[in-house]
């Protein structure tokens, strides 16, 4: 069986709200696929449909070519961390894993193995209700690893983790992908995926905006942009704009220019005797690239914070 | 670097002083903004009304005025029921040997014998009647405003098993000499009238008289009917009990009293005695001469007069009509019958009230609540008040709609609605709403103690409804039933009892028939005590426990 998640044409309406609007993408094995988009873009709904928790109005979601509900031991096909709170708080962490194991025909030995893998040995007899959010995430990961599945699906796994936990999680996700598993990780913070994801599915308003490798996205976002550092900002802007470039002031002494090659910028500034200290090619961060992509797709946008006059 | 001086931030609004009104307002906002709870309260009111009307409208009674007559149903079956001076339905059926009495006067008799016969429905039809008196077989002297059933009266009487009594206007009863009547120990009875005041005396020997009581019958006309009477209520025994009701068997009874030393003062001398079966089916009319059917044959009402001895035989009762599902000859109903739907409403109310607090625990909202108002006891009080007030409003609306509609339906279906005063009606309606409201408060308290919906809902329903069911189910001995309805929160339903139990009427005054061991407001107080206790426990626990 191919270790993939294939999602095609998913539609789902909650009352008048269209949550999924033809969501289509495929998650391939051997890499971490980042599943990003603003709040309410349909990431969690997609994952719930994949797990058969919600029924889509239209479209299919297949795990290795099969619908989730037809899997005999679903946890050994796909491990999911959807909602760290999806447990009964009065049950101990170990017993929570134990019933999950029993539902898959697994034994307590496997439970102890995943407890060790998630680093939960010291707290496993405690009631899960008393866990911090980070601990619950680890418990959720242990549950996802129970069946040693070739496909993993995690919804916001970095939520509530301390910096140490985030570093651990990144390494863990990379090692899972390195073992040849397909790993889908959702996040609304692109920075969390910066060094982890190899592939990105960017969604907004229930559909895919971009389905691309991280490399391609970054280079597209930094395409022929130049940063100029200058003490004479307004003169430089006048000169370059006159020559047909698009100029944006991005700092008190920096400008971002597009539409002109770097050599031409240097010569123009030199001809007009505008002082400048640095001309560099621009390197977009993943965050910027993402903001660029989703600018029009954000459903809930906060009012910009009030600027304090200088 | 320039040093920056930042003035500390001050909230733009001064802190309000009176916190409790705000707390109430906050809890009310919480309540009304959860659609499920509002719907729950509406459902509580609707099921109360709906079930009440179903009970009142379900099944029509049928009757036949004569064995060969057409079968009637519904309102056509309603018999004419006399209403006494106090406004209550009464039975006024007795054999009356009388003379008119104009102005003041007095009547004195000696009763040397009182015997009785009764039929038992369990025995074969046509078999001879059994010898024996009913506890409240009555015979004696009576002064009544008129022979119209339901008119004002005062009477001195001997009874089957309750000694000498003075009774007036159907509901009042005063004990005189105890003991049974026999030739060896006869009873002397005297009743005097002075204006609208009647005074009763009794004596064992005719010389030493004891005043039993004095009653004032307002508006007594100057000419009244005075004389001798005999009457005996129907016999009844409980033959079996089963879940949800008991069955009784019984039959009519007669009693026969012998009077001598009859003296009547204040009447025109030498006036003749006439005999009437008051309020009856005119069976005694033919016997008024006293010739045909004497008491000896024992089968009919009438009187016999010879040598100053009167033998009077009568059947019926002079007493308030009580609600006795097994006893009375025609279907009667009480205003609270239609309010039994309140039990369904109660369950809905308890569910909503419990959730009002447990929902806070389930999602950790209690932490927000207690952060906003750290004085925990006041939070609980505000919650209890809001839950109680909302429930009271819903319950009152439901009861106000149900009672008049159910009365109409009941009447249309052929049940006689036993009349009560408006004050009683108001007490029943307001009391029902109050019971629901206090039950909601109890539910909030238990919900705080247990913090789990399922456990708390069950606990509250079980302590209120289950004792009631066991109390009316006739599976337990009556003593245990009464005990349950005295100490458990189910006692509160006494507030719905519209008719009092009269000791002078022998009827099944069991919880099954709707008679509670405690007085209406006393029963309600039991529920209040439970709610107060639970609230106190809840407050202590809420203060002590971590949220």
């Amino acid at each position: 069986m191919e270790a993939t998640i294939e999602i095609s044409g998913l539609r789902k309406k909650f009352g008048p709200h269209l949550a999924l609007d033809g969501m289509t993408f495929t998650v391939h094995p051997g890499q971490v696929t980042g599943f990003v988009g603003p709040n309410g873009a349909g990431k969690s709904t997609t994952m719930r449909v994949v797990l058969g928790l919600d029924a889509a109005d239209d479209g299919t979601a297949l795990i290795g070519g099969q619908p989730y509900a037809s899997l005999r031991h679903p946890l050994s096909h796909v491990g999911a961390l959807l909602d760290a709170a999806a447990l009964q708080p009065s049950r101990s962490a170990r017993n929570h894993l134990l019933w999950l194991a029993h539902s898959q025909g697994l034994t307590a030995r496997r439970v102890d193995a995943v407890i060790e893998q998630a680093g939960l040995q010291s707290v496993v007899r405690r009631k899960a209700g008393g866990f911090s959010l980070g601990m619950r995430q680890r418990l959720g990961i242990a549950a996802a690893m129970l069946g040693d599945p070739p496909v993993l699906m995690m919804d916001e796994p970095f939520n509530g983790m301390d910096p140490e936990g985030i570093v651990w999680m990144r390494g863990f996700l990379r090692s899972l992908a390195g073992q040849g598993r397909a790993v889908l990780v959702s996040s609304h913070l692109m920075s969390e995926l910066q060094d982890t994801a190899g592939h990105l599915v960017v969604v907004g308003r229930g559909k895919v905006i971009a389905d691309t490798s991280v490399q391609a996205l970054l280079s597209a976002a930094s395409r022929d942009r130049i940063t100029v550092r200058t003490s004479a900002r307004s003169e430089a802007m006048t000169v370059l704009a006159h020559a047909g470039a698009t100029v944006a002031a991005t700092g008190h002494d920096t400008l971002t220019i597009s539409g002109l090659p770097a050599e031409r910028v240097v010569s123009l500034l030199g001809e007009s005797a505008v002082p400048f200290s640095e001309v560099t090619g621009h390197h977009a961060s993943l965050e910027e690239a993402y903001m660029e992509l989703t600018r029009d797709e954000v459903e809930f946008r906060a009012e910009p914070a009030g600027e304090v006059a200088p | 670097m320039t040093a920056q001086v930042t003035t500390p931030y001050r909230p733009p609004r001064e802190e309000a002083r009176d916190g409790f009104a705000q707390l109430l307002r906050a809890e009310w906002t919480k309540f009304r903004t959860v659609r499920g709870w509002v719907i729950g309260m509406v459902v509580a009111a609707l099921v109360t009304v709906g079930l009440g009307l179903l009970i009142a409208g379900g099944g029509s009674s049928t009757c036949q005025n004569s064995p060969t007559g057409p079968v009637l149903s519904g309102a056509a079956c309603l018999p004419p029921v006399p209403v006494g001076p106090g406004g209550q339905a009464v039975t006024d059926q007795f054999y009356f040997v009388r003379q008119p009495l104009a102005g003041n006067g007095s009547i004195t008799v000696r009763v040397p014998a009182l015997t009785g016969l009764y039929a038992n429905g369990a025995t074969a039809v046509g078999s001879p009647m059994t010898r024996g008196l009913q506890p409240w077989s009555k015979a004696g002297v009576i002064i009544q405003a008129s022979t119209r059933p339901g008119s004002a009266y005062g009477a001195m009487m001997v009874t089957g098993r309750r000694g000498v009594r003075m009774q007036d206007d159907y509901t009042h009863d005063t004990a005189g000499l105890p003991g049974a009547v026999s030739a060896a120990s006869p009873r002397w009875l005297r009743l005097t009238r002075s204006g609208d005041t009647l005074t009763g005396y009794d004596s064992a020997d005719g010389t030493h008289w004891t005043r039993v009581g004095t009653v004032r019958l307002a508006g007594l006309p100057s000419t009244v009917q005075a004389g001798l009477f005999a009457t005996s209520p129907a016999h009844s025994t409980v033959i079996s009990k089963s879940f949800g009701g008991g069955s009784t068997s019984g039959g009519p009874s007669l009693d026969t009293a012998v009077f001598d030393h009859v003296s009547l003062s204040g009447t025109s001398p030498g006036a003749a005695w006439t005999g009437d079966a008051v309020g009856g089916q005119a069976t005694g009319g033919a016997a008024s001469s006293g010739a045909g059917s004497g008491a000896g044959s024992g089968a009919a009402e009438g009187f016999h007069q010879a040598d100053g001895r009167f033998t009077v035989t009568g059947s019926g009762d002079i007493a308030p009509l009580v609600f006795d599902p097994a006893g009375s000859g025609f279907p009667t109903s009480t205003i609270e019958r239609g309010l039994q739907g309140a039990f369904a409403g109660l369950i809905a109310v308890v569910v909503v009230a419990v959730m009002f607090i447990t929902a806070e625990y389930r999602r950790g909202m209690i932490r927000t609540t207690l952060a906003a108002s750290p004085r925990r006891g006041r939070v609980l009080a505000a919650k209890a008040i809001v839950a109680g007030a909302v429930t009271f409003a819903a319950g009152l609306a439901a009861a106000l709609v149900t009672v008049p509609l159910a009365q109409r339906l009941d009447r249309a279906k052929g049940s006689y609605m036993l009349p009560v005063t408006s004050l009683t009606e108001i007490r029943v309606i307001v009391g029902t709403a109050a019971v629901l409201a206090v039950a909601a408060v109890l539910a909030v308290a238990i919900g705080t103690v247990l913090r789990r919906s399922a456990g708390a809902v069950t606990a509250v329903i079980v302590v209120i409804v289950l004792p009631y069911i066991l109390g009316i189910a006739s599976v337990l001995p009556v003593g245990a039933e009464n005990w349950l309805l005295r100490v458990t929160p189910a006692a509160a339903f006494a507030v719905q009892q519209s008719l009092p139990a009269y000791p002078q009427v022998n009827a099944g005054y069991t919880p099954t028939a709707g008679y509670f061991p405690l007085a209406p407001w006393a029963g309600f107080a039991v529920l209040c005590a439970w709610a107060a206790l639970a609230l106190a426990l809840a407050t202590v626990l809420l203060r002590r426990r971590d949220a």
């Binding site: 051997g30 058969g52 928790l53 | 879940f243 369904a344 569910v351």
Partner: protein, 291 residues
């Protein structure tokens, strides 16, 4: 571009057989998944701290109320018109409420905590999951109910014989060797099991624990109250015949069977119909609704 899936992963899972593919294996696969679901549901229920207390509560409530009822009753002479077996089992009236809590909590606590999502992720065959849950809850109730009923009958036997329910007054002491008494006892255990199924079904339909338990208790406890006040004997009989509590408890009657509105086993059958309707309705909705 993907690395080959390492072969050693399979060994981690032990010797579990591969998923069956052929249709001839479908039945066997169904059994296996039901067995695994049963195992999981059993682990779930036994690791909840409330379960043991509720089971103890079933036993305590039954025995306590039954003992109180038999201790309060006395029979001074012949013809006391009391059904000693039924009286000895009065506690079922109360313990059915505890059974309802247990059964309702088994499903609605999953909804209130969000655990249902873990459950349905692990067991996507929802009807199998519900069947397993029903079986585990019913099994526990049957066990606790058996102890409760035996304890109640023992208490009834002790109290009644010392309160005048003697052979001289027409009452042989309660014994399971007596056919009707055995039927009342076994039937009461089954009654509790059916109440568990009814509650589980209603809780699956309603999902919220408070509303579900309110519905269950209303369905059970309102019928005797309404039956006591309806005018027409016809309606009264219909309520006793078709309401879950009064019909189901007909199984406890050992005297005056002729006068019953419904015969004992038929009454239990009526309750069974209510329970299956609730469970089927719950199963259907569970399949249709989003978790």
């Amino acid at each position: 571009m993907s690395q080959a899936p390492p072969a050693q992963r399979a060994s981690l899972l032990g010797e579990r057989p591969a998923d069956p593919d052929g249709p001839q294996n479908a039945l066997q696969a169904g059994w296996t998944s039901l067995r695994e679901a049963l195992h999981a549901e059993w682990t779930k229920l036994r690791t909840l701290p409330g379960t043991i207390w509720l089971l103890a509560g079933i036993i305590a409530a039954t025995v306590a109320v039954s003992s109180a009822a038999t201790a309060a009753m006395s029979c001074p002479s012949r013809g006391c018109s009391v059904d000693p077996a039924k009286l000895s089992l009065t506690g079922i009236d109360l313990s059915q409420a505890v059974v309802a809590i247990l059964a309702v909590a088994a499903i609605s606590s999953e909804y209130s905590t969000g655990m249902i999502r873990s459950t349905l992720t692990a067991m996507p065959r929802r009807t199998t999951m519900l069947a397993a849950k029903a079986a585990v809850v019913t099994g526990l109730v049957l066990a606790a109910g058996t102890i409760a009923v035996l304890g109640s009958l023992l208490a009834g036997r002790l109290f009644l014989s010392s309160h005048g329910f003697t052979p001289a007054h027409g009452y042989p002491s309660l014994s399971l060797g007596d056919g009707p008494v055995l039927r009342a006892a076994a039937g009461s255990v089954l009654y509790l099991a059916l109440i568990a199924l009814l509650s589980l079904g209603i809780a699956t339909i309603i999902r919220d624990s408070g509303a579900a338990i309110g519905t269950v208790l209303g369905l059970l406890y309102l019928s005797p109250i309404i039956a006591a006040v309806v005018r027409s004997p016809h309606w009264h009989n219909d309520i006793e015949r078709y309401a879950p509590m009064s019909a189901g408890l007909a199984i406890q009657a050992t005297t005056g069977l002729r006068g019953l509105p419904i015969s004992p086993w038929a009454g239990l059958g009526v309750l069974a119909a209510w329970a299956s309707a609730a469970v089927l309705g719950g199963g259907l909705l569970l399949r249709l609704r989003d978790a």
